[in-house]
C-alpha cells in the first residue's frame, strides 16, 4: 500500500509530517505578532522598542523608517497619517494582511484536497513571491541603489 493510499484512507493530517502546514501556521503566527506589536504600542507615545539601526549608524532616516508608526496608525484606521509616516507602509501592511488570509485559505485547501497539493504549493510559491516583490520593491530598490 502506498503512502498516498494510506493518507486517503486516513485523511487525518499529522502536523509533524507536513512542513507546508507548519510553515503556514508559523508564518500566520508571526503576522499576528506583528499586528499585536502594532496594536500594543501607541503612535502618540512613540514607545516602540525597535529602533532603526540604519539611522543609528548613518544618522540619516532610511526608506523603512516610520514603518511601525504607520502600521499602528493603519490598525487604528488613520490611513492619511500612516502615509505621512511612511508612504510604502500600506503596501507592506497589505502584504502581511493578505498573507495571513492566504495562509489560512491554502492550509484549508491543502488538507481538504490532497490530490492538488503539488499544484497548490507551486501556485503559492509563485504567487507569494510576486506579491512579495510588489510589496517590498521600494525597500529592495533602496538596497540595490545603495550597493
Amino acid at each position: 500500500m502506498t503512502l498516498l493510499k494510506l493518507r486517503n484512507r486516513n485523511p487525518q493530517v499529522k502536523l509533524k509530517n507536513e512542513p507546508y502546514l507548519v510553515i503556514n501556521i508559523v508564518f500566520a503566527g508571526v503576522i499576528l505578532l506583528i499586528m499585536a506589536y502594532s496594536g500594543i504600542f501607541s503612535p502618540e507615545k512613540g514607545n516602540y522598542p525597535v529602533v532603526c539601526i540604519h539611522e543609528k549608524i548613518t544618522g540619516e532616516p532610511c526608506v523603512s523608517c516610520g514603518l511601525s508608526h504607520s502600521f499602528s496608525l493603519i490598525i487604528r484606521g488613520r490611513i492619511d497619517e500612516a502615509y505621512q509616516w511612511n508612504r510604502y507602509a500600506m503596501r507592506v501592511f497589505l502584504f502581511f494582511a493578505g498573507q495571513f488570509l492566504l495562509r489560512i485559505i491554502f492550509s484549508l485547501l491543502y488538507t481538504r484536497h490532497p490530490e492538488t497539493r503539488k499544484q497548490l504549493i507551486m501556485f503559492d510559491i509563485i504567487g507569494s513571491s510576486l506579491i512579495f516583490l510588489i510589496a517590498f520593491m521600494p525597500f529592495i530598490a533602496a538596497i540595490i541603489k545603495g550597493l
Binding site: 509530517n17 525597535v50 539601526i53 532610511c62 533602496a142 550597493l147
Partner: protein, 163 residues
C-alpha cells in the same frame, strides 16, 4: 506492506526553513536588516545539520535544502545592508562640508543684499519731523564719509537747524 517514511533531519529542516523565511522578511526591511544576520546564521546551521542527517539516513533533502538556500539568500541580503549603511555613512562624511558651503553662499547673498539696500527712517514728534534717507551702498558710504571729513553737508539732509 506499509511504506515507512524516514523523517531524519526533517524537524531540523522545518525549523531551519521557518527561521530562514523570518530572516528573509527581516533582511529586506532596511531598519532591521542588520539584525537578520543572527537568525540567518541559526537557519544555516539548522539546515546544514538537518541536511547532513537526511543524507546519512537517506531521507528526503527537500525541506532542509530549501531552508539552507533561503537562509543563504537572506543572510546575503542582510550583509548587503552593511554595505548600504557604510556607503550612506561615507556620503554623510561630505555633508558637513556641503552644508558649510551652502551657509557661506546664503551669508554672502544676505550681505550683498544689505549692501545694496536703501534705508529711510522718518521720526515725527510734536510736529517736528526728522527724516533720514540713506543707503547701505559701500561706495556711497565712503563718499559720504569723505564729504563729512571735508566739512560738506549732505545734500539729502532734511533736518532743519533751528536758529
Amino acid at each position: 506492506m506499509e511504506e515507512v517514511k524516514n523523517n531524519s533531519g526533517q524537524n531540523l529542516g522545518i525549523a531551519a526553513l521557518i527561521t530562514a523565511i523570518l530572516t528573509f522578511v527581516l533582511a529586506v526591511i532596511p531598519c532591521v536588516g542588520l539584525i537578520a544576520i543572527i537568525p540567518g546564521i541559526i537557519a544555516i546551521v539548522l539546515a546544514s545539520v538537518g541536511l547532513s542527517q537526511a543524507s546519512r539516513d537517506d531521507a528526503p533533502h527537500g525541506v532542509p535544502l530549501a531552508g539552507l538556500i533561503i537562509g543563504i539568500v537572506a543572510i546575503m541580503i542582510s550583509f548587503s545592508q552593511i554595505f548600504v549603511a557604510g556607503r550612506i555613512a561615507h556620503r554623510a562624511d561630505k555633508w558637513p562640508e556641503k552644508i558649510q558651503n551652502i551657509v557661506n553662499d546664503v551669508q554672502d547673498n544676505v550681505v550683498k543684499g544689505i549692501e545694496d539696500a536703501n534705508i529711510s527712517i522718518k521720526v515725527e514728534s510734536n510736529g517736528d519731523t526728522v527724516k533720514i534717507v540713506t543707503t547701505a551702498d559701500k561706495k556711497n558710504k565712503e563718499q559720504t564719509l569723505e564729504d563729512l571729513e571735508k566739512g560738506n553737508s549732505s545734500a539729502h539732509d532734511t533736518l532743519k537747524v533751528k536758529k
